[in-house]
């Protein structure tokens, strides 16, 4: 077991050789065969690392409500871009287009998060030419 453990842990170096996108392998957590698109109302946002989670309530056709958790990225990046906990208040309507978790619980990744009119949520990441690009002292 000890040898196997050592082999497995050493893999950090191998994995880092590939382009790194997220803190963990989203392909291991979410099912690419289960694309899902939902419109719902934000009930809360967890500003936690390694990844923030947005909670939404989705109204079903029969009038019942299903709660979903949507995984985003590091909240540090949002803070650095000037967003605060007040930036996504409960009650905000959003559209989430992503993939459901492999355990089939009501969790999905926020592959694409927009407002119902198509505007992107939290616009302003580096490289998009938006005002927060001037955030650094450089």
């Amino acid at each position: 077991m000890r040898t196997k453990l050592a082999i497995a842990i050493a893999a950090v170096g191998l994995i880092s050789a590939a382009p790194m996108w997220a803190h963990h392998a989203f392909a291991a957590e979410f099912d690419s065969s289960k694309p899902i698109k939902l419109q719902g109302t934000v009930t809360k946002m967890e500003w936690i690392n390694p990844h923030a989670w947005i909670h939404i309530d989705v109204k079903n056709a029969d009038g019942t409500v299903t709660s979903w958790m949507v995984e985003g990225g590091s909240p540090n990046t949002l803070l650095r871009n000037g967003f605060t906990k007040a930036s996504l208040p409960p009650g905000t309507e959003i559209v989430v287009d992503g993939y459901q978790s492999k355990d089939e619980s009501n969790k999905m990744n926020g592959r694409d998060i927009t407002f119902p009119d198509g505007r992107k949520l939290f616009v302003g990441s580096a490289g998009q030419g938006s005002p927060p690009d001037s955030k650094s002292d450089k």
Binding site: K4, A8, M20, G72, G73, G98, Y99, R111, Q128
Partner: protein, 303 residues
């Protein structure tokens, strides 16, 4: 006489402390320049200003994950919208086309046959056991070490920030990713005994003129940087070349893993603080999600 001597010693100490180059500040190593030179830039070690601008535009377009992939597997791997990323937008200030400056071809030297065998075995084991339990996941997913936080420190997808705090006898490097704080003694003390192994190794520093040189050995057997093993000897050099630029170089020397040493160089720039906490374990729901997904798949296959 004794007190006069004491004054002289104190004065010399103060002069020595003042003579140190001041590396303190909050720094960003975000850059889009890759560690290794892309194949289409083979034989071209540096950009002109115009070429760098064109490359920056091309990379910004190519790496924008808001462009959805038709391949669902690739699409899910892109994780989430572009607004969560902060890789930087610029090539490295040296205008190099790769962070690796030696060997001159900009590529990591070949692994030794033993290292190749170890890497292949690791990959095979990972494929088979990666969802057996948390121990099979990467150190980053387990919130133990972030692959680019170092040592050596490399640019990653976001939170590419670190803070240097310096005294006469110690330097501390606080890295935002997984909030690692590396304490580097400058007192001339020797490395730990070779049987004592640490996740981030054992760092010892000294001044070479205005350059802080940090030697790190004693890495854990369970740590590997780009294929390195327990014999990794890492040398980092920090030189403040201007008020807002720190030239950071590192040399990877591991004769049992690489066929020759290699060196990379990053022009690191000052950035606005503060460093934010990265409380990785606090909300690491993904670990349970990944393992729960694997258990659900197993149950399905038994039906």
């Amino acid at each position: 006489m004794r007190s006069a001597c004491l004054i002289v010693i104190l004065a010399l100490t103060a002069i020595a402390a003042c003579a140190q180059s001041d590396l303190q500040g909050i720094w960003s190593n975000a850059t889009i320049t890759p560690l290794e030179r892309p194949s289409d830039l083979a034989g071209k070690p540096t950009f002109t200003a115009e070429e760098a601008a064109a490359y920056e535009k091309q990379v910004a377009e190519r790496s924008n994950v808001d462009h959805r992939s038709a391949n669902a597997e690739a699409d899910v791997s892109s994780a989430y919208n572009q607004f969560w990323y902060d890789r930087g937008t610029k090539t490295v200030g040296t205008r190099r086309t790769s962070l690796i400056v030696d060997p001159p071809d900009g590529h990591i030297p070949a692994l030794t046959p033993e290292a190749q065998k170890r890497v292949q075995e690791t990959r095979a084991w990972m494929q088979e056991h990666s969802t057996d339990g948390p121990e099979g996941r990467s150190l980053g997913e387990r919130c133990i070490l972030w692959a680019t936080a170092g040592p050596p420190m490399m640019p990653g997808p976001y939170n590419n920030n670190f803070q240097i705090v310096q005294t006469r006898n110690q330097v501390v490097i606080l890295n935002e990713m997984i909030h690692n704080a590396r304490i580097i003694p400058l007192d001339g003390s020797p490395h730990l005994a070779s049987n004592i192994r640490q996740w981030m190794g054992d760092s010892r520093g000294h001044w070479d003129g205005n350059t802080l040189v940090v030697d790190t050995t004693n890495f854990s057997d369970e740590y590997s940087f780009r294929g390195s093993d327990r014999n990794l000897h890492l040398t980092e050099r920090f030189t403040r070349v201007s008020p807002d630029t720190l030239l950071y170089e590192f040399t990877v020397d591991d004769p049992t893993a690489f066929t020759k040493p290699w060196t990379a160089q990053i022009a690191v720039t000052t950035t606005k603080g503060p460093i934010f906490e990265y409380a990785c374990h606090e909300g690491n729901y993904a670990m349970t999600d990944i393992l729960a997904g694997a258990r659900a798949a197993e149950k399905k296959s038994l039906k």
